[in-house]
């Protein structure tokens, strides 16, 4: 019998501390200025990348429809993808949980007696906390994206899905390198810092047994894995070691190769304002006979981790349209102020708030959907038109729905419900349904308004306490007659 240890995700634990985390990070001036600077830069870049509103809107609509079509056909496309990948010589593995995915990857590495792994940027491998898992098995798993490399050295998690080390400035990176890399001459010159990273990582690429990568798009009709990147570390990880393992979520599959151009264009322009990334890498098979490089074996691990739960509801399914560009965080007033770590989840910001409840359950994440002013910026910039504000409202409702109410759509339904809040709303609704009760309550509120305390917890920390009027509007109108 298989003994895979399913334990609660460490992210569930940190997501529960959301409010504490927010207090901690709001008080950190350096962090706030790092985020403010970075978000202003990224918003500006995106704006320049879409000079024509008409083009942007046409592309967004097209991309939304492409993703919706691919989701409607998802089970069939996954089967087609597996068939074509297998035909091309790429092995496919299916995992329902992070623990299963990790076990599969560890087994693949062990089968090659692998000891050192280089990893290209993969948020899905963050979901599974793969680095920790491999480390416990004495396998060195080194992040090779510059931002991820920095974050790993600092023993942190990415604070942004596109720019993982955005919370650090160059001075902090320089100090980090000084403390961790031998022979590093302290400098805050960004070119010199990057060249240091290049030197350290090139040695690793040269010697690694295994390369692990994510996938931006998986094309069903051809059995092709597409990777978008600027640095070349993704190409290194997928080309130089003998074994390449890719890991991705089941929602990343698209039907046709022809679906890629509009999605790719929106992805890079929304993410960093680039018309295209430096590299776009399409992998369709392991090394063929006669070829002189490329991995002997290529594997793809398809991970569910709560995605099928989101899929089961028509409205929530739109969550899976996401192409992980990160532009919703760049435009979010909450994210910009509290930063990426406060959320405690793998995916921060607006997309994190709507995707994490499916991965970790509402019990650990019921605070997240409430951390929004519902200003609507995220929905407005989303390249695949996910109605994020609407989904936030929906998740708020799911989290306070009575636990017993059928059908249960989400793990942790009702976990945000408190008896006090529920009773207040019940009373509120009763008062508004029964005229006599309404009049009585208005009478009480106006006559006993002096009983309202001056301090009302969080509400009065930055405001004065509300004071009801001496007469209700109804009464005053009656007096005028």
């Amino acid at each position: 019998m298989l003994n895979i240890h399913e334990q609660e995700s460490k992210y569930a634990e940190s997501a529960r501390k959301f409010r504490k985390n927010v207090d901690r990070d709001l008080a950190n001036q350096e962090l706030r200025s790092n985020f403010r600077g970075a978000m202003d830069y990224l918003m500006d870049k995106r704006k320049t990348a879409f000079p024509e509103q008409d083009e942007l809107e046409t592309l967004r609509r097209q991309a939304q429809l492409i993703k919706q079509r691919c989701l409607l056909k998802l089970p069939h496309l996954l089967e087609e993808l597996e068939q074509n990948l297998t035909k091309n010589g790429i092995h496919v593995h299916w995992a329902e949980t992070p623990a299963q995915a990790n076990e599969m990857i560890a087994q693949l590495i062990a089968s090659k007696k692998g000891k050192t792994v280089v990893k290209g940027k993969s948020m899905v491998s963050e979901e599974t906390a793969l680095n920790d898992y491999l480390e416990q098995r004495d396998i060195e798993c080194l992040e090779s994206d510059m931002g991820e490399f920095i974050v790993q050295l600092a023993k942190e998690h990415p604070s942004h899905i596109i720019m993982p080390a955005i919370h650090q400035n160059k001075k902090q990176v320089a100090d980090l390198f000084s403390g961790n890399i031998n022979d590093f001459e302290h400098t805050t010159d960004v070119d010199a810092l990057i060249q240091q990273g290049r030197k350290t990582l090139r040695e690793k690429f040269c010697n690694a047994d295994v390369g692990i990568s994510g996938v931006n798009f998986a094309v069903a009709e051809t059995g092709t894995l597409c990777l978008v990147e600027n640095e070349g570390n993704g190409r290194m990880c997928t080309t130089v070691p003998d074994l390449h393992i890719a890991i991705t979520g089941i929602e990343k599959v698209v039907e046709h190769m022809a679906d890629i151009p509009p999605l790719l264009s929106l992805l890079t322009r929304s993410a960093t304002g680039q018309i295209i990334s430096t590299y776009f890498n399409m992998i369709s098979s392991p090394r063929k006979k006669g070829e002189k490089d490329g991995p002997e074996e290529v594997h793809l691990v398809l991970l569910d981790n709560g995605r099928s739960q989101a899929f089961a509801d028509d409205e929530l399914r739109q969550t899976l349209q996401c192409i992980r560009c990160g532009t919703c965080m760049n435009h979010c007033p909450v994210y910009t102020r509290i930063g990426g770590h406060a959320y405690g989840t793998v995916y921060p910001g607006p997309i994190g708030k709507i995707v994490s409840p499916h991965m970790l359950g509402l019990e650990a994440t019921s605070n997240l959907p409430t951390a929004s002013s519902l200003c609507g910026a995220c929905g407005e910039v989303c390249p695949v038109k996910i109605p994020i504000p609407k989904l936030l409202l929906r998740l708020r409702k799911e989290s306070v729905k009575p636990e017993s109410q059928q059908p249960v759509i989400m793990k942790g339904q009702g976990s945000g419900r408190t008896t006090l809040e529920a009773s207040i709303w019940k009373a509120w609704s009763l008062v508004h349904k029964v005229p006599a009760l309404y009049r009585l309550s208005m009478f009480m509120v106006t006559r006993f308004r002096f009983l309202i305390p001056n301090k009302l917890g969080g509400w009065t920390s930055v405001r004065t306490a509300p004071k009801p009027a001496a007469r209700t509007l109804h009464e005053r109108l009656r007096e005028r007659k």
């Binding site: 609509r61 429809l65 151009p261």
Partner: protein, 224 residues
């Protein structure tokens, strides 16, 4: 640790479970009634305009573009290398430029298997030359289709990458390439789009070139 067979069983169990959950939701879906996906119609550009756009995009991304004729390729490569105090270059096998280059430079062909030669490729090769399949104006992209002669790492590991681009094989957009070349019918092991030298802005949004791949991309655009 679990054995290979156990994990295969687990994978197929997970597969059935995931697919069953998904299928239960969309089993009755009618694919004939999907909304029409309208693509944006970009203004048509003349060949000359496309060339300009291509060059501007690449230059904006820090690539060096040199207009040249097929006959001058070897001379220009030698000149550019000597500007960088280099005199060696790695090229693909069966290259038509081998003889011309050998007359002026120390030429090494990629005639080895990477597995036994990683330290050599990573530490001793300073520049490489590759050809390309076609290119894309809208994004300033060069499409490489690596093969036995020109392996994937030829355009990745050496710090200076020279790439030959034929102006006659320039397409307006990625979508056009797919329509005309129909890659879908037969995908090679790897296709890579290159739109500049390797770069990163991961430290304080400051652009730095030569992150992991080539620090310099020199495009030899055959245009006469």
């Amino acid at each position: 640790m679990s054995t290979k067979t156990e994990l295969q069983q687990l994978s197929s169990k997970s597969k059935s479970s995931i697919l069953a959950k998904l299928k239960a939701q969309v089993s009755g879906a009618d694919y004939s009634k999907l909304p029409v996906e309208m693509a944006y119609e970009y203004p048509e550009l003349s060949h000359q305009q496309q060339l300009e756009l291509f060059t501007n995009n690449l230059t904006a991304n820090h690539a060096q573009v040199i207009n040249t004729s097929k006959e001058s390729i070897e001379r220009i490569v030698a000149e550019e290398l000597s500007k960088r105090n280099l005199n060696k270059i790695l090229i693909g096998t069966n290259s038509e430029y081998k003889d011309g280059l050998s007359a002026q430079l120390e030429v090494q062909e990629y005639d080895f298997d990477l597995q036994q030669n990683k330290p050599y490729l990573f530490n001793e090769v300073a520049a490489s030359l590759s050809t390309s399949l076609c290119s894309i104006a809208q994004t300033g992209t060069i499409v490489l289709w690596p093969d036995e002669n020109e392996p994937r790492t030829l355009s990745l590991v050496p710090p200076v990458h020279f790439v030959i681009v034929d102006a006659q094989k320039l397409y307006p957009s990625f979508s056009d390439v797919l329509v005309k070349q129909k890659w879908q019918q037969n995908m090679p092991t790897n296709i890579v789009f290159i739109s500049g030298p390797s770069k990163t802005a991961d430290i304080q949004q400051t652009l730095a070139y030569g992150a992991h791949g080539p620090k310099e991309l020199v495009v030899l655009l055959i245009n006469v």
